[in-house]
Subunit: 425 residues, 2 copies
């Protein structure tokens, strides 16, 4: 029987039984951190070969003949630019391969535009009275934290099954010149796991923002992180922009943080030649260049697009059972009761759980008190404020399957208990 069809008596009995189950879990003394999308040790083990890809006896020249041990090459070595331009879906002339963190690159692009402007004559964002930003949500908390740090006012845009509410996006950007950007995780979205539809991508490319310096921050973090043999497909935003002449409107980001080593990978950005040229001008003041040996290491280990795909398949084989475990338990425990909604993602790092309204914080609290830390309730919304107190992000990659099973059961029990508490009121 669905929870919302139960009488108050039935609910009271259900809550009592569930609380017993919960207390049993609590007594087990679990201790598990599922708060961040961290790779598991077995995933990292698969990348260990990268440490031997560049050894002391090797020639450390890139394919242009430049010595990767020395200064030079602001935008990356040619072979790394080639491999990762393909990954981002941009031309070789449209890519910069940089440091170890795409988050840092996104932050830097906002900082550059804040201090110096976007390079097309518009005022630097830091000189404006007010800068606003569109935040499809639920979304990525670290994106929102950047906006908050810069004092950028965030506007919630609801995420649907095909991407952000594009009617709202089109309307807002065409009317309000102070809206300067939007965060997008277009494939296996963090956290909802959906991939933007072709129509959504085309509507993004065709946006007619009132602000000439409006920018789409296209964080394509999970573009190769497929979990199944039927992966989603995402239309190439750069190609769509080029068709309509809007290629200066989009910055595309990616990294190997969850491909090789988290924190010791590479980050890269795709953008129009005009944007790349402007950004390189600014970047040349900031640094002489990035770690070219790590670029060499990556290309020699991953080799090419096929090598990258084969590596990602190995990772998927490790991650898929974890997603399956969580989804199975949610299906078994919550579907019959009609508690919550979630999506079965074909890739990415997260399962997004929409609890009954007013339950998310309580579920996180119940889990925490029984030893399982989730990403804080509210974190998937700007300013940490989920208006419905409903969304929770589950990050299944890090724990071993056995622990994950326990954690997912605890999660389900907590969801039941929270839902019953709300309905009993």
């Amino acid at each position: 029987m669905r929870l919302d069809e139960m009488s108050q008596e039935q609910l009271a009995e259900f809550e009592k039984e569930t609380r017993k189950e919960y207390e049993k879990f609590k007594a087990e003394g679990l201790k598990l951190d599922m708060s961040r999308g961290k790779p598991a040790a077995e995933q990292l083990d698969i990348a260990m070969g990268i440490l031997d890809a560049v050894k002391s006896g090797d020639d450390l020249s890139d394919e242009s003949g430049a010595d990767c041990r020395n200064y030079g090459g602001l935008d990356g070595i040619p072979e790394a630019k080639r491999l990762f331009s393909v990954m981002l879906g941009v031309k070789l002339s449209q890519v910069i391969v940089a440091g170890n963190s795409s988050l840092n690159m996104m932050y830097d692009m906002i900082a550059k535009n804040y201090i110096f402007g976007t390079g097309d004559g518009a005022k630097p964002w830091g000189k404006l009275e007010k800068v606003k930003w569109l935040c499809p949500c639920p979304g990525y908390d670290r994106h929102f934290a950047i906006c908050e740090a810069f004092g950028i006012e965030m506007i919630n845009v609801p995420m649907g099954k095909t991407g952000p509410d594009m009617d709202m996006v089109e309307k807002l950007v065409s009317e309000d010149e102070s809206i300067k950007g939007i965060w997008c995780v277009p494939m296996y979205s963090n956290p909802t796991g959906i991939t933007y539809s072709d129509e959504t991508v085309r509507r993004f490319a065709s946006l007619k923002p009132k602000a000439a310096d409006f920018r789409i921050f296209w964080d394509n973090a999970y573009c190769i992180h497929h979990l199944t043999d039927q992966p989603d497909s995402l239309l190439n935003i750069m190609e769509e922009c080029e068709k309509v002449g809007s290629e200066d409107m989009v910055y595309i980001f990616g990294s190997t943080s969850k491909v090789t080593f988290a924190g010791a990978g590479l980050a890269f950005m795709g953008a129009s030649e005009k944007n790349i040229s402007y950004y390189k001008g600014l970047l040349g003041i900031q640094t002489i260049g990035y770690d070219k040996i790590n670029m060499l290491r990556h290309v020699r280990f991953l080799k090419d697009e096929e090598g990258l795909k084969a590596h990602m398949k190995k990772l998927a084989d490790l991650i898929r059972p974890k997603f399956d475990t969580v989804l199975r338990i949610l299906d078994e425990q919550l579907t019959p009761l009609g508690i919550g909604e979630w999506h079965r993602p074909a890739g990415g790092y997260f399962i997004s759980f929409d609890a009954p309204e007013g339950c998310a914080k309580r579920i996180a609290q119940l889990c925490r008190e029984a030893g399982v830390t989730l990403t804080g309730a509210g974190a998937t919304f700007p300013y940490g404020k989920d208006p419905k107190d409903s969304n929770l992000r589950i990050a299944p990659t890090y724990p071993p399957v056995s622990e994950l099973e326990e954690a997912a059961k605890l999660f389900a029990i907590s969801a039941k208990l929270a839902a019953a508490e709300v309905l009993r009121k």
Copy 2:
């Protein structure tokens, strides 16, 4: 005979002879880039062992047990923090080990203070009408380029044999609240090669700036780059600051760019606990962390302070003959003629040459036209404007000794020719 003692006839004859020598060099078709302080291939060869310091079979935990392959650890792994805090002369609680570029860290500190302020309640620099900066010169062109990019007005401060003109520094910072910082390369200064005297360091620590958010950018890039067995010594600025309670006034920077690999090394910053805490708060928005595997690689290769010293000694043995070659040729060719002044540095990367007034651009042009590129004349001054058109920076490390000998001879001949041309007018 000194050039300035020659009659016009003698000068004409001298110029004619020198021009002949110059034309001979030009005909040789040299092609040499001495514009930047780049390590030579033999120096990089000495660091090749670092590539084997972390292999696929190794345990990649840092000494706290954290897996360096995964996310975490914003301020660096403990063993790297320990090694490089010693190098910077600060406590373990006063260091952040970060990415691959100390230039980038300095840029970031200015950007942070520009956007968010220094954290003590003062307005962000970007919100002020005017921000000024003291620039001891000759100095490092990339420092000046950062100020120029941020629209910070640079004020020239003459460099002497014991450091910047401290009377001028003290007077200016105590009077003008819009002066927010000063660039210092306190040891083996870029380019003059001098090391700040103890008195200079103490006077820096005791500065009483009008601006509470005034900061000393102490770029200690060459603190371990000794060339001889009689190295200079530099007083510890952090200790001096702590004695007088001014420890929040200084940021100290260093890197291994010229220790291991240029661009694939580590950068680090020393600062008071208060500054570190504030900066880490901002940094946590920008990135999840830096490349901990490269930190592990560095510590396992360099081991400890003794290991670092032994490594630097090997580098010094390669670099010293190059400095000696240039200095010998300058001594032989120019001293008898009384042309120019230069310092014999006990470390660092540069020889600074003060040509007779009005000669620097002409010398650089003559060298360039005969195939040797120097750092552009004027580059060692803010806005590229050397008021006396006198200073040139010679970077002897990159070319092999044989080529360097030719280049130094060409340099001396060009200096003679330029000096004669000026005196003949």
